[in-house]
Structure formats: C-alpha cells, structure tokens
C-alpha cells in the first residue's frame, strides 16, 4: 500500500500513516525518494503515524541527507507523539526541521 503524496504551494507532501515498520518502510522510502527525484521541496507529514521503527526513521534520514545535497527544502510536519518519542530516542528531534503543520512551515513558524 503506497503512501499518498499531495502537491501544494510548491511542496510535495508525503503523508505517512499507521505503523511505519519493516513491512511498510519500503513504501515510505519509495514515496520520499520519488519526490526528491523530481527535485521538489518535500514535507513529510507524520500526524497519523501510530508507530515508527528504525527502518521508518532511516527513510526520513536518507531523504533529509539527499535533500541537503540537492539543496531541496525538507522538513517534518505534524509529528505525532509516538513518532516524536522515537525521534527523541534517536536524538534526531534536533536534526530535522520540524513544524507543527504545513501552514506553520509556509509561514516559517516553529
């Protein structure tokens, strides 16, 4: 099952949801990389993520690293409590740009 992607206001938004684990992280990776190949600014919406493991986090890290090399904007938006807990455990909450919502990213607010 693929994760939906929406294009709005110059961004591609990948909506991850449910349990992003070893069985579903390949689809998450595919969605993120497909956007980065098009060199579109990318936001990953994690508001509906109930669970994420290291394979899911690895997709986000890979996407972030590619975006930096290509000078593409990349951020996480609407990070769920569960996802934020895992990002904190991984000490990545201080690495990724994180915004409470798409609107907040557009307005530049944290």
């Amino acid at each position: 099952m693929s994760f939906p992607i929406e294009e709005k206001s110059g961004y591609a938004v990948v909506y991850l949801s449910g349990e992003v684990d070893l069985s579903r992280s390949p689809e998450a990776r595919k969605a993120i990389l497909s956007c980065l190949r098009k060199k579109v600014n990318l936001l990953v919406d994690l508001s509906a993520v109930a669970y994420i493991d290291s394979s899911g986090i690895a997709c986000l890290v890979e996407g972030y690293q590619i975006s930096r090399k290509r000078k593409i904007d990349f951020a996480l938006v609407g990070v769920s409590d569960n996802a934020m807990n895992v990002l904190r455990l991984a000490r990545l909450d201080q690495v990724f740009p994180i915004y409470p919502s798409f609107a907040a990213r557009l307005s530049g607010g944290m």
Binding site: E19, D21, L22, S23, Y51, D53, S54, S55, I57, A58, C59, V61, E62, Q65, N82, N85, V86, L89, A90, R91, L92, V95
Partner: protein, 137 residues
C-alpha cells in the same frame, strides 16, 4: 520466582511483527508499565526481531522467531530465539547516536531502552537474545 507470561512463535516476516507488537504491548500494560515505557519496550523487542529477519535470516520468509516473556519479582525478561547461524557478536554493536545516517539505529534503541541485553546462546541450535527491563519498585 520466574513466571512465564507468554510464548509466541511467528514466521520471520515483516508483516507478522505487528502481531508480536500487540502481544508485547498487552503484556507490558498488564504488568503495570506506563504507556511511554510500554511503547519503548515494544520498539526495542520489535527492533531485535527486525534484526533477526534482516541479518540473521537474510529475509528468508520461512524461518521462525520465538519470543518468550518471563517475569520475576524485579523484571520483565524477553528471550528471542532464532535458528540462524551464530551471530557475530563482535559486529553487534550499537551505533554512535551523534552519527546521522540511515542505518544502525535498531541496536541503539535496544540498548537505550532495555536495562540488560545479552546473547545467552549462540551456536548450532541458533541464537537466544535476552533483554531485561526492570520493574519499577
């Protein structure tokens, strides 16, 4: 006194991990861990299972993972068994959290979350990984 709380066998397939996570979640809830700790313990054991699937079994879908959860007065004890060749313990090290790269976080999570982690067996009959989480007084 050591009490066996649950034993579960699954095929080593990523799609089966959700079932295992549910069992672990329920067990940790019933034992009295707080929600955040429940989530963390689920993550740690799930990561260990993912490592078995990917690194011990090299994604072979017809292999088995066996999880047994024990309890004593002080801790919840998770034992994961597989039938893979002996793990190279010297290579089983968590990564430096300062290093930002896609891989290597699973072991880091296990060591961060669990109070004790050790291989009990590593030989012809497979591997047994034991992870212990202390109960709060």
């Amino acid at each position: 006194m050591l009490e066996t709380l649950t034993e579960i066998h699954i095929f080593a397939q990523p799609e089966r991990l959700k079932q295992l996570r549910y069992v672990i979640h329920e067990t940790t809830r019933q034992v009295g861990f707080q929600p955040q700790e429940q989530d963390n313990i689920v993550l740690a054991v799930d990561e260990a299972c993912s490592n078995i699937i990917r690194h011990a079994y090299h994604n072979a879908p017809d292999q088995e993972i066996r999880l047994t959860i024990f309890r004593n007065d002080h801790a919840l004890i998770f034992q994961l068994q597989d039938d893979a060749p002996c793990a190279d313990i010297a290579k089983v090290l968590p990564r430096d959290p300062e290093e930002v790269r896609p891989g290597g976080l699973g072991l880091y999570f296990i060591h961060q979350i669990m109070d004790e982690t050790a291989y009990l067996e590593c030989g012809e009959s497979g591997n047994t990984l034991q992870m212990i989480k202390y109960l709060k007084p």
